[in-house]
Amino acid sequence: MAWGGGGWGGPGGGGMFGGASARTGLPFGGIPSELQAEATKLLATEPEHAPSALTFAQLPNAKERQRLSLWRMLADQPWLLAIGSVLVIAVSFLLQLGPALTQFAIDHGMIPGHRDVRVVIWCAIIYLGVALMSVWMQRLQATVSGTLAARVMHDLRIRVFTHFQRMSLDFFTEEKAGVLMSRMTSDIENLQQLIQDGITSFASQGLTMAVITIILFTLNVSLALWTVALIVPLLFALSVWFHHASEKGYLLVRDRIAFVLADLSESLYGIRVVTASNRQRRNIRNHRHVVGAYRDANMFTGRVNAVYGPSTIMIGILGQALLLGIGGTKVAHHQLSLGALVAFFLYLNRFFQPIQLLVQQYTALQQGRSSVIRLRELIETPPTVDETSDAVALPTIAGRITFEHVGFSYLEGRPVLSDVSLDIAPGESVAFVGPTGAGKSTLAKLANRFYDPTEGRVLVDGIDVRTVTLRSLRSQLGVVPQEPFLFAGSIRTNLKFSRPDVTDTELEEAVDVVGLRDLVSRLPEGLDTPVHERGQTLSAGERQLLALARAFLARPRVLILDEATSSLDLQSEIVVERALDRLLEGRTAILIAHRLTTAQRADRIVVVDHGGIVEMGSPDELIAAGGAYAGMYAAWLASGGRDATTGA
């Protein structure tokens, strides 16, 4: 009999579907060309999905405040859950009818003295019917549990992602990026697997074990005792050992393949340095070690698999020998019917799979549980910058920004800003200059509530920013960050990001205003040219122009530019600055200036140092005053004009 046979695929061998790339954080390599035709055919059956029309509110509603649990997620789909459960139970029973029918046919149709062709034929027909019925019910069950899992995960994805959107800037640190990513990907995919296969399988295997055990005991108590007492614990122990060992091996393999790919990827990205440094031979030897370590980890899982699979086969055969010995003696002494012994043999086979699967699924169940716990912790983390429940929408503003005795610290006891007071009039442009770490960026981040001041208040048009909704505030304050971030998509989608309802005329106007026309007309696909790999097809200057156009389209009353020209070469800087002039017309602007060319064009310069304002005034006033700014300016001129930096 085909005993057990488990252990081939094993956790170590599951790279079949390209899942390896998901685990190792590599970009998706695309669907292999040989599968493309079938994939296209499948995709043709996909209906047009209606675009989502979800709304976002900073404060979670009652449902979103509910504690996250697996059970509650499932209970949100009551019908699918109920149907799925009924099907699981029904299938578990149906599948165990075969051996019982065989036993009945033998004992009531084939044994000398009880021969009856009709019994045999009817049993066979019922058996056929049962098998066809199982096909139908399993099919239904697979669809139901698949749909259930997909729906639940769809909702969960949106729920977790919505929570991301509620969180404040301090939550998205560089160190945490990987963790947040894995919550949204691997943790949710874990749960998907658990709901689709895990729970169903756990329930049906458990049921199967129970059903078989009951049947065996009804057939013959002492033979059932022998079977259950000898084989079950042995197989169970073996399976538990296997899963511990292969889990260990799996983690080792995963770590080591990550090293292999990291080494490969560094060597390729740095191939110019490798070649220029004549490092090829050494790197090849080094890579052999890395590959060798990976091979060794694979060998470990290989040994574990080699022990487990054949062991289950061996236990199966020994179990049959045991049954034959004990059961055969009983049949000879007429303590057991021949049909019952045959049934024992048939059921013994069916005992193996559930035990192996139960142990396997138990691991999945635990992983799923810890994923739920991690997701729950994430969802229960409150944002540091939040709306109050009575927040109102900020009316259209004129653009006055007032800092009132503002103090701020990222870490308690280490103030970055203290007692800063500043009033920026509507339409005025103010440049913050000062050394790196002086607090000029922080000051700007308080205006649009990326952070809240630890002391004092920030007012927009006289209204405390903490009393208004975040959306109404931020949609009137545009920010161009230092590193222009582009989304995967075309130039057009990136431009439209700030205001999805923007018209084509407005789009074209923005392109002209910021000086992107040259680029757009040069590109073969114009505005629809895709920007790859976070914008690497465009130069730094072009990316910056895109970011400016984006801000231009948002038409904010207040514009905050965070050292927007610091990483540009000369030609690009000139173009960007020309665009800036257009952008700033009639707007309140805060310019965080790295290069003094930017600062010089502001109405007022505020020199920030040691967490406070050192001096302020118009550029000419400050140069004339001979203070800190005058010093910076002199140094800048001396070092060849435009290239000087204000920082160290």
Binding site: A131, W136, D296, I313, P481, S498
Partner: protein
């Protein structure tokens, strides 16, 4: 030829610093390469690698055949035991039990050995393929890297290697399983030929269903992967671009974007479940249908005395034994198609030949003076002529700046000197000899280039600086860092020179990275130094310090500086202005200011009139 470096199997393993924190491997590297003959079928090309592991491989196949034969014997023994001892009451039950126990132990032992050897072969083959691809790519020329996207290349190679490895090692196993299926069928025939044929009716259907199922399951799981990648991209963008999202208050739009992507994932998952639901219950229940047929027809035979009850039991067992090979045969076909396509993609990489290779009789560049001559050089890249009729003499010890607008070809000049690329016409000479006459290693050891994008590796700063001279002492490393004006900031880092940088380590600013890249080249102390926009992110004061250090360190060094900034340009003794692949002006800074309008224009962009 550079290709000859491919298989230097005589490596001394111990000299390598291991990156895995002390984990060492005895892996000796591949013992064979793929066949170079592109006319062969894909598996013939892989064969040399497999046959370099022939002992474990043949052993594995032989042992699994043995194990399967043992397993196939069990139902037959049971059948005999049933009919002899239980139905006809002669023969010894004890002997039958002992026989089965012995066979069980043998089947288990041979099974363990066979699986061990088989997996060992599989993993050795995988390691060989990975090593081969790595060493091959290491020697490829930049024209290859200009063409491909590294990230996707790695991802693709990774899954392709796995699929070839799986097929190459599991195909024989599946064939062995099929052999055991034939054996099982043989046993069934000896019990009863008619019933054997009836029982087999469902098997071909099982095979067809298996193939059909996989034909649709593979694409849908790739579609699912692609869509999960879409979701991951959106999440990644919202984490890294959180400022943009929040600045424009676009949270709602992003949530809807994610919801749309999630909807597409849901569709793929549900489709996957439906396809599985459509086929996999048949796979699971077809053997049951066979068993039902056996029960009906076999039962009637038992009644008529043509078969024993043990026969029904044996048929049950054999049918289940046959189930695996028939299902796997379908899998084999699918895996074969996948593996073929994967292998072809791997061959595409392995068949790629480097275009920058050494000439036969190349000699080492030694005792360099540092004269560089461009003699009527033309360089075309992918049908675009970048440089034409360019002649330029750079004297030993000179510091020269090459200036020009974007696309003027100034970076190209640098890359021709150390043969990152080769000229299309004309020649580049160092000390009177064509650079193509020198060995590549000696050429690159003597021509140091600091590139515009300072690539650093995820190792410590000291190791990064010592990248080109791994045996450098701590003192030399520090001296190079001082010359590059990097020592001061390095010592302020939490762990100084041992600070690990890069993805999993400390993040440095652009200027700091450039200074480390300069230190890396200075440590090699090349007599010819090319700085390709290598100081663009460095503060002007620090930059001046670096050039000062360079001057005092080695006055005989030939230095080529490619730059935009006036502060950098004025550090050179001589300036060459390049436009559209031609030299349009050549002289000192002052001379050019007076004579070259283009030079004036380029500089005018540095010093704007209004300031």
């Amino acid at each position: 030829m550079a290709v000859s470096h491919h298989l230097d199997t005589d490596v001394v393993v111990d000299e390598v610093v291991n990156p895995l924190g002390g984990v060492r491997s005895s892996y000796p590297g591949p013992r064979a390469e793929i066949s170079r003959d592109t006319s062969l079928t894909w598996w013939r090309r892989v064969l040399p690698i497999i046959s370099s592991h022939r002992y474990t491989f043949v052993g594995a196949v032989g042992l699994s055949l043995l194990s399967l034969i043992f397993q196939a014997l069990v139902p037959n023994l049971l059948n005999n035991a049933f009919s002899d001892t239980l139905e006809r009451h002669h023969g010894s039950l004890r002997v039958a039990v002992l026989e089965i126990i012995a066979i069980g132990v043998l089947a288990g032992a041979s099974g363990m050995a066979s699986r061990y050897f088989l997996q060992r072969t599989a993993f050795e083959v995988e390691a060989d393929l990975r090593s081969l691809i790595y060493q091959h790519m290491t020697w490829l020329s930049f024209s290859f890297y200009d063409r491909v996207q590294s990230g996707q290349l790695i991802s693709r190679a990774n899954s392709d290697i796995r699929s070839v490895q799986m097929y190459a090692t599991f195909a024989p196993l599946i064939l062995v399983q099929c052999a055991s299926g034939v054996l099982a069928f043989g046993f069934m025939l000896t019990i009863d030929p008619v019933l054997a044929c009836i029982a087999m009716v469902v098997m071909p259907i099982l095979y067809i269903v298996g193939i059909k199922m996989r034909r649709v399951l593979f694409p849908i799981s790739w579609i699912t992967q692609a869509r999960l990648a879409e979701v991951a991209t959106i999440v990644d963008e919202n984490i890294n671009g959180v400022r943009v999202v929040k600045s424009f208050a676009q949270e709602e739009a992003e949530i809807n974007r994610l919801a749309d992507a999630a909807e597409r994932v849901s569709w793929a998952y549900i489709k996957d479940a439906q396809i599985r639901g459509q086929w996999s219950p048949w796979v699971q229940n077809l053997p049951q249908l066979g068993l039902a047929l056996v029960l009906g027809f076999g039962g009637v035979m038992v009644i008529h005395g043509h078969l024993s009850v043990g026969g029904i039991l044996a048929f049950n067992a054999y049918l289940l034994m046959l189930q695996a090979p028939f299902m796997m045969l379908g899998q084999l076909v699918m895996m074969g198609q996948r593996a073929k396509a994967s292998a072809e993609r791997i061959f595409e990489i392995l068949d790629e030949r480097p275009d920058i290779v050494e000439r036969p009789g190349a000699f080492d560049l030694a005792n360099v003076r540092g004269d560089i001559v461009f003699d009527d050089v033309r360089f075309a890249y992918r049908d675009t002529t970048i440089v034409e009729h360019l002649s330029l003499t750079i004297n030993a010890g000179e510091t020269i700046a090459i200036v020009g607008r974007t696309g003027s070809g100034k970076s190209t000049l640098a890359r021709l000197i150390n043969r990152f690329y080769d000229v299309s016409d004309g020649a580049v000479r160092i000390d009177g000899h064509d650079v193509r006459d020198y060995t590549l290693e000696s050429l690159r050891a003597n021509v140091g280039v600091v590139l515009d994008e300072p690539f650093l590796f995820s190792v410590s700063i000291a190791e990064n600086i010592a990248y080109g001279r791994p045996d450098a002492s701590a003192r030399d490393i520090e001296a190079a860092a001082r010359a590059a004006n990097a020592h001061e900031f390095i010592t302020k880092l939490p762990e100084g020179y041992s600070t690990v940088i890069g993805e999993r380590g400390y993040t440095l600013s652009g200027g700091q990275r450039q200074r480390i890249a300069i230190a890396r080249t200075l440590l090699v102390n090349p007599p010819i130094l090319i700085l390709d926009d290598a100081t663009s992110a460095i503060d002007v004061h620090i930059e001046a310090g670096i050039y000062e250090a360079l001057r005092t360190l080695m006055s005989t060094r030939t230095t080529i500086v490619i730059a935009h900034r006036i502060s950098t340009i004025t550090l050179a003794q001589r300036v060459v202005v390049l436009d559209e692949g031609h030299i349009v002006a050549d002289g000192t800074h002052e001379e050019l200011l007076a004579t070259s309008p283009l030079y004036g224009e380029i500089l005018a962009q540095s010093v704007r009139e209004d300031l």
